[in-house]
Point group: C2
Chain length 345, copies 2
């Protein structure tokens, strides 16, 4: 199944990002030629989605080194500064730190020749991009088998081509199932407050002509109660080594509904989303964003002035609620600790 | 605890309604002098909330009869036409039909003297209004005991002074608990798509200086998971004789979260919300509203053009998820069938 747009594109001297803040109203591609620009794009969510921000950060590092090399400044220092800046943009998705770390490891092995190092770092960033694309395709192939031959699948937030180098994690699985001839209808949670579902997932699925219906987040429970949901599949921002999953706020509620209504709850994420360094999600920092995302809508206030707001961007779903984790290496089943250990052996 | 605004006011020749579509941005009171105007106000949600639309409908009938009497037309026919029009505005909340039926019973006992009948019907509508106020106060007194001495209470939608003649059902219980010295902090679900929580409940509680925090609906699950919610309380649009509860979309999800996290789930509603005519909520019509409520925000499109939307305005919570139902006559406990039978004996 072909995806008809590009989330991220590397031109050789700049990073092009489809501006996800203003979709679906406008399809605007922005050009970033500096690491600072890329960091701002990640922070303000021009680009979002755990794998996509990892890829963007990798190219951000290339841009920093490129600028240093052109200006005759020491590239290793530029790399270090940019890595710190990019790493400070968003705390929860581990793919960001994974991509920075991978680039750092690559950099540590390079000679001091600036142009040669720049070329090597660029090759590494392109590899991060291409491997993510390939991982998504592989997740699709593995995960498609889990979905019903015919039925309705709920997804939350956007774990699609827009959240990755392309194709998508959760939406990649749905795309692959549809491509394999399964008759899937997708219920799309709008995903407040940033509306990634309404704005991005609905747009992506419509573009690809995959049948879908938009609902507000609080309508999912009714659909479960009415027996209308046959599976749920979401992405992940970080998976602990016990299988606990940090993902977009609202994911845990979907997982609880799956459990109570005996519907499978699937997570699709590349291996780079698994953080062996954390035992459970209790150790994962959960980003809190500005309350204005909740009180305002397209710049207009909807809640009373001065109201207190709690705006966590992510929540955590304990491993016991997860039916399976789809990775590019295959599908993991509970108990996840064992399968995750095997995955990294 | 004093409420500092009026949702509904009867002037003797017109009905004044605080326009709830544009709160909290603007506090505009609209004047309705015809039954048709009141029907439009109910349909477009100038006034909403099960008890409030019942009260508004009662006065709508008075306005219809008033206009007929003034014009020298037969008042019984005007009453019948208006009752039909008002009854067709919104299908789920039973209080609407209860109020119309009560007025109809009152009308059937009247003489044909037009002015005398008008006065009697006006007295009846005022009684509906005043009894609702009194019922809310009584619910507050009964329900306050259920809430923790100190803790956080989640509420969904608006079951406050704005949803009733005044004081509120669920928020009435919270008001009474606060008045009794309990230290209650309220988490307010924003309640998509109409944002009754963000726009109305947050406004109402702020006005009354009751500590509250606004969240999007999908954040409630995280708060439950983190052990931050000690009770949930909501209103109801119709309660079946087995205790099943129809209420604002999203209520069922809250009830499921309460069950899974072992937190009590309370419903506060006057006896007029209980429909002995239905055995379970399967028999209750669930209103579906225009998809534009989901795809647009203050007139601006947020979802892609042509996207399919499902927009049920209510959902159903099976009685087994309800810890207690607070009525003006006292608190009902499971099994509700028995307590409900006793309530109407």
């Amino acid at each position: 199944m072909r995806v008809t747009f590009r989330t991220i594109e590397w031109t050789g001297d700049a990073l092009l990002l489809l501006d996800q803040r203003i979709l679906p109203g406008r399809e605007t591609v922005r050009r970033y030629a500096t690491a600072r620009g890329v960091a701002d794009a990640i922070r303000t969510m021009v680009v979002r989605g755990a794998p996509a921000i990892g890829v963007a950060a990798a190219f951000g590092l290339v841009l920093a080194v490129r600028s240093a090399v052109r200006g005759g400044r020491p590239w290793r220092e530029a790399f270090r500064t940019a890595a710190e800046m990019l790493g400070a943009t968003r705390p929860t998705a581990v793919n960001l730190f994974w991509a920075i770390e991978r680039m750092r490891r690559g950099a540590s092995m390079l000679s001091d020749d600036p142009r040669e190092s720049l070329r090597a770092l660029e090759r590494e960033a392109v590899a991060v991009y291409e491997e993510d694309l390939a991982a998504n395709r592989a997740m699709g192939a593995h995960g498609a088998k889990l979905l019903p031959r015919s039925g309705s699948v709920l997804t939350h937030c956007n774990a699609g081509a827009l959240a990755t180098a392309g194709y998508g994690t959760a939406l990649g699985v749905i795309r692959a199932a549809v491509a394999a001839g399964k008759r899937i209808h997708v219920y799309v949670d709008e995903t407040r407050p940033f509306l990634q579902g309404a704005r991005l997932t609905a747009w992506e699925l419509s573009k690809d002509k995959i049948p879908c219906t938009l609902i507000t987040d609080n309508m999912a429970a009714k659909l479960f109660g009415d027996g209308k949901i046959h599976a749920a599949i979401v992405g992940a921002d970080r998976i602990a080594r016990n299988g606990d999953v940090a993902n977009k706020i609202g994911t845990y509620g979907v997982a609880v509904l799956c459990r109570v209504h005996k519907v499978p709850f699937y997570v699709a994420a590349p291996r780079s989303t698994i953080d062996l360094g954390v035992r459970s999600v209790k150790e994962i920092p959960i980003e809190e964003r500005n309350g204005r995302e909740v009180t305002h809508f397209m710049g207009r206030r909807v809640a009373p002035d001065g109201i207190r707001v709690y705006n966590p961007a992510f929540d955590v779903t304990p491993a016991r609620y997860v039916s399976a984790i789809v990775t590019e290496k295959g599908v993991l089943f509970p108990p996840f600790s064992r399968d995750i250990r095997a995955l990294f052996r």
